[in-house]
Symmetry: C2
Subunit: 128 residues, 2 copies
DNA sequence: GCAATAGTTCAAAAGTTCTTGAACATTGAA
DNA sequence: TTCAATGTTCAAGAACTTTTGAACTATTGC
């Protein structure tokens, strides 16, 4: 009934560069950021990242990103809506997120089987 | 006599974002980058980073930064002169290094004993 | 209530990173 | 040649990170 699932997020002023860099220095998490960046209008659920790893492993990686202050996770029903903390990151490290995204955008997208997603597949992941 | 110590550096096009982020996602290495950024005119030797860790540990961290393509190391005599690979990083990830440095600049500088260097001490490290 | 959906937590295992000290290598100078 | 200076390599250990599957929680809809 209550829905009070605790999902701690650091305050903007407690987001540190070292934590953000550590969070992003991982292929899976960088790929998650890529998915989010291609989709900044509509929040994504965890399930939409399943091409990048198992449910458990994604839960782990998304927690890392959340704890570092890179993403915000909003529980709604049984789902969690994940968004980039763009405003906070821009305030804290101006220009940083954009250079990451710009690079991530024209990178091939590795998925869990080691092959690479086509643009068509990416569009599908992005809009489903 | 020969002086042919091999110090492999990745080519510019082989510098990857994930490797750079992993290399920078560490307090010691971020502090090294901070020292280098305050000193971009004159190359620094490894010995000038000794407030950040032991000789062995710095050798390890500087190798990480070199292998990721973040710094260039030029042997000269018994010393190694370390510089940021600014041109290459700017070509590969435009704006990235500057946002890192801008953040690093107004960060307190932790040194190995857990205390923080004053600006005077930093200047001393930088120009000795 | 019961089942389905969406995600988390736990403990174990495997792998990676970092620090340490001792031994080594290279260069330059007395 | 011998010494000091500067840094590297090696092996061991401690501490983290990541992945797994099984068990769990919370919510929604029937």
């Amino acid at each position: 009934m209550s829905g009070m699932t605790f999902l701690p997020h650091p305050d903007t002023e407690h987001i540190t560069l070292a934590n953000v860099l550590t969070a992003l220095g991982d292929e899976t998490r960088l790929a998650i950021i890529g998915h989010l960046a291609r989709n900044e209008e509509n929040a994504m659920t965890c399930g939409q990242f399943l091409d990048l790893g198992s449910k458990t492993s994604l839960s782990y990686h998304l927690a890392k990103l959340r704890e570092a202050g890179v993403v915000h996770v909003r529980p709604e029903g049984t789902k969690r809506f994940v968004t980039l903390r763009r405003v906070d990151l821009d305030a804290r490290f101006p220009g940083f997120l954009d250079t990451i995204i710009a690079t991530t955008r024209h990178l091939p997208f590795a998925c869990r089987d080691g092959n690479v997603l086509t643009n068509a597949q990416l569009a599908e992941v992005g809009t489903s």
